[in-house]
């Protein structure tokens, strides 16, 4: 067994695609129609194109409990997913200039530095840098 896929629930796949590619800088890996306007839509990291794929999963749109869980995480300010970066400060500056909103500015936590951004699709995402 291999770990190759990470799922992120998104309300609007097209909107998520724009955000994750244009702001965060991911690249489209697979995009195929699944009927009913749904897509199997995966992205990869620009710097690690043979790494795990990120699935933009339209669960919240079709499966109520998924929406409930997503909303509860949002209310708690809790990121479910995190991405590694070389420098949290650099990414914070870059993304802030692109209009991305952060719920938590770069913050040191012992051996890591973290920041939390809003992906505009219902999720908080944590950026992490190991110090």
């Amino acid at each position: 067994m291999k770990v190759t896929l990470i799922s992120i629930p998104v309300l609007d796949q097209e909107k998520a695609l724009q955000f994750y590619t244009q702001k965060l800088g991911f690249l489209v890996k697979k995009d195929l129609p699944l009927g009913g306007g749904n897509r199997w839509l995966t992205l990869v990291s620009k710097d690690w194109q043979d790494g795990p794929e990120l699935l933009l999963e339209p669960g919240p749109l079709h499966f109520e409990p998924c929406k409930v869980f997503q909303d509860a995480l949002m209310d708690a300010g809790m990121p479910w997913t995190q991405f590694d970066v070389d420098s949290v400060d650099t990414e914070y500056d870059r993304l802030t200039k692109l209009g991305v909103e952060f719920s938590m500015k770069p913050t040191e936590m012992g051996t890591v530095k973290v920041a939390v951004l809003n992906d505009t699709c219902g999720n908080y995402i944590q950026l992490v840098e190991e110090l």
Partner: protein
């Protein structure tokens, strides 16, 4: 303050309150990052931070979840992947990232990545053409 921020504060107090220890392990990790190709052993690492080697292993594992040795090996494999992508030969790569035997490098590389160094290099170079 969100629930998440409160939780972070709680964990910070629970796990990250000892600044001296944190400085020590960050120092060791940075040293490994900068000197992964050298012949690093625990006696040497513990000497740099003035702690006993058993204490060092325990501390590193406590904060990074793996031993310094495991971290060093992972770092070397990542650096080896980068060099192979740049077209360096397998033998040169092996020694450039600090391994001392081609056989153990190749088998370790295969265990960690699923491919031998030459298979990995072929796949990467054909991809970029």
């Amino acid at each position: 303050m969100t629930y998440y921020e409160k939780e972070l504060e709680r964990v910070r107090g629970l796990v990250y309150s000892n600044e001296g220890q944190i400085k020590t392990v960050i120092g060791i990790r940075n040293f490994i990052n900068k000197n992964y190709e050298a012949d690093l052993n625990l006696d040497f690492l513990s000497h740099i931070q003035y702690v006993s080697k058993y204490h060092l292993i325990r501390l590193f594992k406590k904060y990074y979840g793996q031993t310094p040795r495991q971290y060093l090996i992972d770092t070397r494999i990542e650096k080896a992947k980068a060099r192979l992508r740049e077209g360096m030969t397998v033998t040169e790569t092996c020694f450039a990232v600090g391994f001392e035997s081609l056989g153990s490098f190749s088998s370790l590389f295969k265990t960690k990545t699923g491919k031998t160094p030459s298979q990995y290099q072929k796949a990467q170079l054909s991809r970029s053409k």
